[in-house]
Symmetry: C2
DNA sequence: CCATCATATGCCGTTATGGGTATGCGTCAA
DNA sequence: TTGACGCATACCCATAACGGCATATGATGG
């Protein structure tokens, strides 16, 4: 059996946004389309670096590009973020509830200890 | 200059949930606390495999564990998912709008081409 | 066609990551 | 104490992922 390595997670939106700089790119693009160089400059990365991140974002469909003269403008296509939002939202009721219960559990422990 | 490699993304919630199996673990834990072996079994992975994923989840605070006799019960602490939900939610208005605009742009192009 | 700007790619080196197996460690029961 | 169980770790392998640099590719203006 060949040792299986990391599962290919690219082409998965969750993986695409796992990278901080890619998240920053998406945030910047909310303000409108931008050429690669401008993105690279604003985020303090090299042009090839920006292009690579943009490629990942494009492959998962979070970004679209179109030619504009010599430049290539990248724009946001946030539809792919909806599943992320919904997935996380599926835990909404646990944000408060489950932890109150944990606290309660801790309290129980303390009491039990005192009663020994 | 030492070539900088991948940025250390561990200890980051976004990275923790980038792994499909880890997301599955979180979903399972919504039904309540579970021992490691049970999780491993339900997800079809080895026990060490489950432990490793649980460790990552614990390190980013998405999961809590407590001893229960011989076992160790893992429970959900979904508070860390809130930032994810909110971050993705920050793009909510673009899910529809921005794409309508892209469509409009495409229409403009077609027209412009016909008018040439 | 030539020079130039704007991007994308290729390649290299380093590190992160995931899976597998073996094993250490703590706990409980007899 | 001994043996079995439950889980965490350590170690190894193979590969995916980032960053930097050099270079190919594309489009534009002369």
């Amino acid at each position: 059996m060949a040792p299986m390595a990391r599962a290919a997670t690219t082409s998965d939106v969750f993986n695409a946004i796992a990278e901080p700089q890619r998240r920053e790119i998406l945030v910047l693009l909310r303000a409108g389309e931008r050429p690669v160089t401008e993105l690279a400059q604003e985020l303090g990365m090299t042009q090839p670096g920006a292009s690579k991140h943009l490629r990942v974002l494009r492959e998962v469909g979070l970004v679209r590009d179109r030619k504009a003269g010599k430049q290539r403008l990248y724009g946001l296509d946030a539809r792919g973020l909806r599943p992320v939002h919904e997935w996380a939202g599926g835990f909404e009721r646990f944000w408060n509830e489950s932890f109150d219960r944990l606290d309660a559990y801790v309290q129980d422990l303390k009491q039990a200890r005192q009663e020994e």
